[in-house]
């Protein structure tokens, strides 16, 4: 029997979502016959990890600390194998700016953007360059914190007058903010799961908000607020292209185990990668479990595979599959 520590909760703003993901994972692990210890991550995490002495840690944390490589680094230090991406991939993906630069450099399409931290505005007069940014990106402009995994703090500036307010809001969630060209179109998510022969893209999910102009945080986590179509009904070849791009981004960013790649499909049929989530939501309404189910892979199978992969990565002699490609 494998002893698995499920890390959940934590201090992040996505604590509530993480608690739901963690509870579901713990349930699945117990079904799989594992010995489960759930840890609500806090100031005593290192001590708890030592106490629990699990064979493997299942990281069901979302947002800062859980997804940005911090907890992964600690797990490396205490020598406990853990699920999903390694430290460097977590750092790259949790910072949307790093991820977008990497994708742009590698030729993976991502919406045009600018990113600044608060200091640039406070000390370098970056506000003076806003008109140029606005001109290049064109309204509406998406303004979002660089580090939030959820839709928290995402604002849509329709005019120049909206930009300062949107920036103030986005800076509430972190020091770095992204101004991004808005891609009007369909909101797609491709979950990638590591198979025996490398990453496999699961069926594409489309999120269709029922009554909102834009997909928002509330809709994402509430049943009945958003319709999820899985597999998404896409015209010839789009699904394959989306899946191909997702796997390409997954490899480029050095993800491991699983990840969810969010994309936009515009009216011309062009696809853009918005971001990669190294620990996608695992709640009842989350997209990755839905996509897996559509592919005939049960939630328990996903969980089991992630645990196996974590143990495999930690085996001596095995190259770190989490290293960037």
């Amino acid at each position: 029997m494998t002893r698995v520590a499920v890390l959940k909760g934590g201090r992040s703003l996505e604590r509530g979502v993480s608690l739901r993901s963690g509870a579901r994972v713990a349930n699945a692990l117990a079904h799989l016959g594992h010995d489960v210890a759930s840890i609500d991550v806090g100031g005593d995490l290192v001590a708890r990890l030592r106490d629990v002495a699990a064979h493997v840690a299942f990281v069901a944390l979302h947002g800062p600390f859980g997804e940005d490589g911090t907890v992964q680094e600690l797990l490396e230090v205490v020598g406990m194998p853990y699920t999903a991406s390694g430290v460097s991939a977590c750092i790259r993906c949790s910072d949307k700016v790093l991820a977008k630069h990497a994708m742009r450099d590698a030729g993976i399409p991502t919406p045009d953007f600018f990113a600044f931290n608060e200091t640039a505005f406070r000390e370098l007069g970056a506000a003076g360059a806003l008109p140029e940014m606005e001109q290049r990106l064109a309204f509406p402009i998406v303004v979002k914190p660089a580090s939030q995994g959820s839709a928290l703090g995402i604002k849509f500036a329709r005019t120049a007058a909206d930009v300062p307010t949107a920036l103030v809001a986005a800076f509430s969630y972190g020091d770095k903010v992204l101004l991004e060209r808005y891609v009007a179109g369909r909101d797609l998510a491709v979950s990638v799961l590591e198979g025996d022969a490398g990453p496999i893209a699961l069926p594409v999910v489309e999120a269709v908000p029922r009554d909102r102009e834009f997909y928002d945080f509330e809709a994402r986590y509430e049943i009945g607020r958003t319709d999820f179509l899985c597999p998404a009904e896409l015209a010839g070849g789009v699904a394959q292209r989306a899946q191909g791009l997702a796997v390409e981004a997954y490899r480029l960013l050095g993800c491991y185990g699983f990840a969810r790649i969010d994309l936009m499909l515009d009216e011309t049929g062009a696809l853009y990668v918005l971001e990669a989530n190294v620990i996608p939501g695992l709640t009842d309404t989350s997209l990755l479990p839905q996509a897996a189910e559509a592919a005939g892979i049960s939630f328990e199978d996903v969980v089991a595979r992630l645990v196996d992969l974590a143990i495999a990565r930690a085996r001596p002699g095995r190259a770190d599959a989490g290293a960037p490609a």
Binding site: R11, A26, H31, V36, A169
Partner: protein, 466 residues
């Protein structure tokens, strides 16, 4: 080693809840829930100073008194306390209710007109349950009690919110709104108001407006739900008559509770309503919970029998008055001058309004992560997305030092955002000095709607009279 929430073996793995989506009632789709819920989950962290709750301070209730009362319940009413009780409530508790209402200037209430409920919250639910069909109009204040919002939404009411100022609900606006609704052929089922020390705004409906509001109800034969949890928690000024006492019991449904004068943990509230309404609510309560807990009702009866409730109320009021003063002083010291707030004469809450460009839901994220302090974002008190730049602060739930520190932390994040906005717009740098003492207590524009222009800055005034 601690292992928590270990799942039980053999329990079916819960598959995608979407599968059950088709089974949910239509009304669950409009049930209000939000990002705020996840943010509020974090306020429960130990290191967070929460000015977000609506909690009375139960730590001042003497444990010895609690033990003695429970002992009395056990020795004198054990079997009855453990048994079901009448739906309308124990007679002994209904007499306590009339005693409290007499203390609020409503002498001579017939105990038979009292329905004891599971907290005051149940009255709001029962009111909706007995009166509201989907699409029916409820008139409420803007902002309104955030806890009423989910109840109104659950019954698919169309809530029309009436703006307030320092004298409470703008009854002239109400009248115009009622006219408009009448033109549309719609008649509100009831007007929901917290006229005294309003939650969340902290303001009190003035006497002329009370009279006009009751007159309106009589003229148009509309019910008013008067929610009065805080009336006895007055720290300054003279008591004003309740709507129920002006009305005499024709169109006012009165909601009272022991939550703020004794304990919210006992979950005992009540309503006094016109008999036909009361009977329907009684039926509604039967299906909800048969009866409120006889155990805690016996506790209430024993407590009132001991004769100490007024004394405890006085001590609570004194504690809360000091905390309110501490919060008002701290706001003056720490919030920038672009900020405004109300000056409640009683109750538990102060309503703070920031510049329009600050969204208090986003601000809460920063306040929690950077400063570990929490408040209720104003949007929770509106059903239409307004209130984005306001927040509700509670001063009853934590001690004076925490209030001072909590407000200092809020002041810090607010000043940072004001400064950042100034930088982004090229406006003058933020005012480093603190705000002047409380603004014009008439507060004519404090509760103004967020989309309106900001009033020019007003003169310093220290007077606390309203």
């Amino acid at each position: 080693m601690t292992i928590d929430d270990r799942p039980r073996r053999g329990e079916p793995t819960r598959r995608d809840l979407e599968r059950y989506g088709g089974l949910f009632a239509q009304r669950t789709k409009v049930m209000k829930s939000s990002a705020m819920r996840d943010l509020m989950a974090i306020t429960k962290r130990d290191d967070v100073i929460s000015l977000a709750g609506g909690l009375p301070d139960t730590s001042t209730f003497p444990p010895a008194s609690f033990a003695a009362l429970m002992d009395q319940v056990a020795s004198q009413s054990c079997a009855r306390a453990l048994q079901y009780g009448p739906t309308e409530g124990l007679d002994s508790v209904r007499r306590c209710v009339t005693e409290v209402m007499a203390a609020e200037g409503m002498a001579g209430i017939d105990p038979d007109d009292v329905l004891v409920t599971t907290g005051g919250q149940q009255v709001i639910d029962l009111m909706c349950k007995t009166l509201i069909d989907p699409g029916d109009v409820i008139v409420a204040e803007a902002p309104t009690y955030p806890g009423a919002v989910p109840a109104f939404c659950a019954y698919e009411a169309d809530v029309v919110q009436i703006e307030m100022d320092g004298d409470g609900m703008r009854v002239d606006v109400l009248e115009a709104t009622l006219d408009r609704l009448e033109h549309e052929g719609r008649r509100p089922k009831f007007i929901y108001t917290v006229p005294t020390f309003q939650n969340p705004a902290g303001v009190t409906l003035s006497m002329p407006r009370r009279e006009r509001l009751v007159a309106l109800a009589h003229e148009r034969e509309l019910l008013i739900l008067e929610d009065n949890p805080y009336g006895l928690l007055r720290y300054e000024g003279e008591p004003v008559p309740t709507l129920r006492s002006i009305d005499g019991g024709e169109f006012v449904v009165y909601l009272g509770t022991f939550s703020k004068i004794l304990s919210p943990g006992i979950r005992v509230g009540w309503t006094v309503a016109p008999r036909p309404v009361l009977e329907k609510m009684n039926l509604g309560k039967q299906s909800a919970d048969l009866c409120s807990s006889p155990m805690t009702q016996h506790f209430v009866a024993a407590y009132f029998e001991s004769g100490r409730w007024r004394e405890y109320l006085r001590s609570l009021s004194e504690i809360y008055r000091r905390r309110r003063d501490t919060m008002l002083d701290a706001l003056t010291e720490h919030l920038p001058r672009e900020t405004e707030w109300t000056h409640p004469q009683g109750g538990l809450f102060i309503w703070v309004t920031l510049p329009d460009y600050i969204d208090t839901t986003d601000l809460l994220a920063r306040a929690l992560s950077a400063e570990s302090v929490a408040f209720v974002p104003g949007r929770a008190a509106y059903l239409d997305g307004r209130g984005g730049s306001s927040m509700r602060l509670n001063f009853s739930g934590v001690g004076e030092n925490e209030i001072r520190e909590g407000v200092r932390r809020i002041g810090k994040v607010v000043r940072e955002q004001v400064g950042l906005y100034g930088t982004l717009t090229g406006a003058s740098p933020p005012q480093a000095e603190p705000a002047p003492p409380p603004i014009d207590p008439a507060l004519a524009k404090v509760l103004r709607l967020p989309e309106r222009g900001r009033p020019p800055h007003r003169d310093r005034r220290t007077g606390a009279e309203q």
